[in-house]
Amino acid sequence: WRHIGFTFLTFFILFNNLIPISLQITVDLVKFIQAYFINWDKDMYDSETDTPANARTSNLNEELGQVKYIFSDKTGTLTKNEMIFKQCSISGIMYGSGNLAEFNNYELLKNLEQHETRDEIREFLTLLATCHTVVPENKAYTELPTEVAYQASSPDEFALVTAMKLLGIVFYSRTPDSVTINFRGEKEEYKILNVLEFSSDRKRMSVIIRTPRNEIKLYCKGADSVILERLAADDQHVKETGEHLENFANSGLRTLCLGYRTLTNEEYNIWSTKYREASTAINNRNELVAEVANQIECNLKLLGATGIEDKLQDQVSESLTMLHKAGIKIWVLTGDKKETAINIGYSCKLLSNQMLNLTLDEANLEDTQRQLRQHCQQFGDSLRKENPASLVIEGQTLKYALQAPCRQDFLDLAISCKTVICCRVSPKQKAEVVELVKRSVDAITLAIGDGANDVGMIQAAHVGVGIMGREGVQAACASDYTIGQFRFLTKLLFVHGVWSYRRLCKVLLYSFYKNICLYVMELWFAFHNGFSGQILFERWTIGIYNVIFTAAPPMALGLLDRSCNAATMMEYPAIYRMSQNRTDFNIKIFWTWCLNAVYHSIILYFMSYRMLRHDIVHDSGIVLGSHLYLGNLIYTYVVFVVCLKAGLESDSWTLLTHIAIWGSIASWFIFFAIYSYVWPTFPVAPEMRGMAKYVFSSPSFWFGLLLIPITALLADFIYNCIQRTFYKTLMQEVQEKEVKHQDLSDLVASRQTPAAPRATERLALLKSVFTRTRTPREVGIIDRPYHGFAFSQEENGVVPQDQLIRTYDTNIEKPPGY
């Protein structure tokens, strides 16, 4: 029994290297340098802010190549949080163009002078200059200034007022009961009689003003849906304006409709009394105020509509389209309102008419549950698959959806959609959503954001990407990778991710391979030494196998291998799907490599053994066969085979690859030659003394060196030939075309065409299923045409907007600050 115990221990020690300890170091080193490649990439350098990409960890490079879900913040990540007034429509005439950076339309000014609609234009401009809650900062305190700074709680209003300023209609002073504007050189003071606040229920805001000509007017701006239904019956521009709205919406602009009405004194006085009562009521004040406001906001005359661009970060929609093409599902998690979120969805092409757009906005758990269940059933077989569908969900509903009874349905539904937009979610919810998907779906998740409110989700996701933004560095500090711009994400994933993944797979497989190949040899030798545990190789040569002789090839595979160049991978996101679906590393492939290693070791050992069978491989007739002679001979062949195998697995041989492979082989020869002369000068390796001389002087050794490695690798070579000829992967086809400098588009197209008609059929099918029994509105499908209303305004603040503007008097000079 003692004997068995010792034998077991002996073999335990003998084979401990089958699980290579060196693997950890190799992999870490490779990942570390891969991370540097990310930092070094000049394509991911943002010259505006002087920030290169920065890998803050080196552990996740390969996960970048397998991302299936991206959770993105909106503001600061997808958008710049900069609103710009782009287009407007006044009395059925469209001004401005979507292509220009700013609205500066001379036609509008010309029409203001002499066109038949000049009165409407004037009203329109006055409305924009007066109906808002912006506070001006007239620093110069001059009369009729043209340069004024604005403070606005709503970026939309800021954009509108700024645009008016550029047109020469400068709003420059606000007192508790009036606003003053410089209307192209004329000072006009408007008394503010009432402000009817914006809220997301009302979707509109109105002011009642007394003009310099002593008329009372109600100016109203808001969503097309609410303005259009409050128009006087015979309004003539509704149709054109509607078309224009659709036009604006399709180009991704945020739209507002503007209307006004003139009030008589009596009308106003009656209403005013009611309003005062309502606003001093003790119970249900808000409802009463809204009710009264509603009474006056009617019989409006339509002035037109505005289109404001919520500026996207550079190339966001292109990047998102590419990510979609790569089979990545995109979730936008934003604190914004539904309208804003949907608007952004359209402008960056996450939402489109080519998909089934679902919305979920339920006020309680039961409804949420019922609706989710219904949607899931309607998806039927396509549930949990890739569908041309999108889902927009409200923060409130999300709260219910994340609760236990709904969670599974919500998840099923959400992962059936290409795009999911969650609006009005808190930072905590963002993290919860990411957590849910990460836990329930076997896929890599990535969260990207720029602000402190994204820290939670960045930490929750497998991979967190921070955008070095203007919103501070919390997100960047919590992230694994930081980039300067959203658009760099594509290169990070498609190039660095895929490369790192493929390379790391090769390094892992290869590291196992090379160790198994060497150490299994000890097993074959055990059959020949009575299982005594004698090792075939000299112990120091084994010791530095992973340190010197085969250290460089995995590095070459891990750092220099590339199957096709970066530009191609950027152009054809379909390539990404290969690494995403983990086709390069799975149990089957792992065992194939292990068997491959065993096969090589069998060839190497038994051929060498047969070659030395009679121990006489030298013309001097002396006997050379000692176990170390056999060992060194085999070891040389192993180094050859293992290094060349790395070459065989390399898709590209750079100069450094050559150095790694041939240098490793050379290093063994040099080491071997020197090591054979160490004893007895140094008290190591007496058995090695004279080895190199006798190994190198044996013709059999050299003939074996030509024959045995080639024999071992022949099967691999033939396998590669067959695979490459008859079972090419997409990657390999792309690579071939690239090498031949052929056009790749038809190749990639040929891969996509069969899928495309299916997608539209599927869409039609889905739509019909969803609307068979109920109206789109009931189902929660966004009804078309989509008019793109969105408006940001702080709501339910401590100080209502009405009071807020009445506390300012910008004519009073500010006390100097200390």
């Binding site: 290169p52 491989v617 030298h618 002396i622 006997v623 041989w653 030939c721 690579q735």
Partner: protein
């Protein structure tokens, strides 16, 4: 002249974090991308086939030219001269392996002239000279002629009963092959044999050194228990050069064999001592006189006496040649198969291409489900 401020601005400019645009950092190193398909690999297979088959033929022919004569004298080929009808193996067994010796003679005929250098080997079968504990049981410092206390690796042959170090110590030395094999032609002309030049020159020159005053040293220190005389009497000619640790039979034995079936060089034919043997070993009848000291039957071992010439490749071993031929043929077959495939299934054939991409689509589609 630049002001400090300007310098600072300049430095600032240089300190831009923009990554350097080098081929290595941007991963644009020029690379050779081998695309190995059945077509492009055709010349490789052809070349390997065309090179390997001729090499194989040369090696086989070379091996065939080597002459070799084997004689297994473990049991019935070695009948004791003193005890009738008993093999020497049995004689040793009956004496309980207590150092009994036995002599036998075996005659044999060589059909061909063994021309040139002729080598005499003894071969052992089922003898695990590569056993871990056996391999370890030696002290290379002692063999360098150092008189220090020997390593405990030599256990159980480290010290004699009275506590002094055994010279040479260890299991390998103790088990040294000690049969003596003497060859005579036609029963009377003894074949002149060389006892030196049979070990690795490096071993003889570097690894094995006698201690100072060797004769006295070996005489006063205990010898390994299985040895009949001390190390200084291994070669009866008592030349300084071939006795003690530097005895070549001993050196040969100390380089442990890789496999349980092995040969060791015993003697070389001396071409200069006699005109009869100046061209090698002529064909004829020979008698081998064996002093049978080395028991192997107890562990089912075998002993052989081998006479061999060598080629430039060494002894007779056709394996390498046949392996070359086999691999060459495999490559040629692969070449032909791929050529046929290439002719019948052109990779640019649109139909084949379409089929492939359809398969691919199905596969990719399956991947999503």
């Amino acid at each position: 002249m630049s002001t400090p401020a300007e310098n600072e601005a300049d430095n600032e400019h240089q300190k831009s974090k923009k990554p350097a645009d080098t081929a290595f950092k941007q991963q644009r190193l020029p690379a050779w991308q081998p695309i190995i398909t059945a077509n492009t690999a055709l010349p490789v297979f052809l070349a390997i086939g065309l090179i390997f088959i001729p090499i194989g033929i040369v090696l086989v022919v070379t091996s065939e030219r080597v002459l070799e004569f084997d004689l297994d004298y473990t049991d019935t080929n070695c009948m004791s001269l003193n005890v009738s009808n008993t093999t020497c193996a049995d004689v040793l067994a009956q004496a309980n392996y207590t150092g009994a010796s036995c002599t036998c003679q075996k005659s044999f005929t060589l059909d061909k002239d063994f021309e040139g250098d002729v080598y005499f080997y003894y071969g052992l079968v089922n003898y695990y000279q590569n056993h871990r504990r056996y391999v370890r049981s030696r002290d290379d410092n002692q063999l360098l002629g150092k008189k220090d206390a020997v390593s405990s690796d030599c256990q159980p042959f480290q010290k004699s009963v009275n506590g002094t170090d055994i010279t040479p110590c260890g299991a390998i030395a103790n088990s040294k092959f000690n049969d003596s094999l003497v060859l005579s032609m036609n029963g009377n002309i003894s074949v002149p044999l060389l006892r030196t030049g049979i070990a690795w020159s490096t071993d003889k020159a570097v690894k094995f050194k006698n201690p100072d005053n060797p004769q006295n040293w070996f005489a006063t220190n205990p010898r390994p228990p299985n040895w009949q005389q001390d190390a200084w009497h291994l070669d009866t000619n008592l030349t300084d050069d071939n006795n003690g640790y530097q005895n070549e039979d001993f050196i040969v034995w100390m380089r442990t064999a890789a496999m349980p079936t092995f040969r060791k060089l015993y003697r070389k034919l001396s071409l200069t001592e006699s005109t009869t043997f100046q061209n090698g070993l002529p064909k004829g009848t020979y008698v081998l006189t064996i002093t049978y000291n080395y028991p192997v039957t107890s562990f089912s071992g075998r002993k052989q006496f081998i006479i061999s010439t060598t080629s430039w490749m060494g002894g007779k071993n056709p394996f390498l040649g046949w392996a070359y031929i086999t691999v060459g043929i495999i490559c040629m077959i692969t070449f032909v198969v791929f050529l046929v495939l290439h002719k019948t299934w052109k990779t640019d054939d649109p139909l084949a291409y379409q089929m492939r991409s359809m398969q691919m689509n199905q596969r990719t589609a399956a991947g999503y489900n």
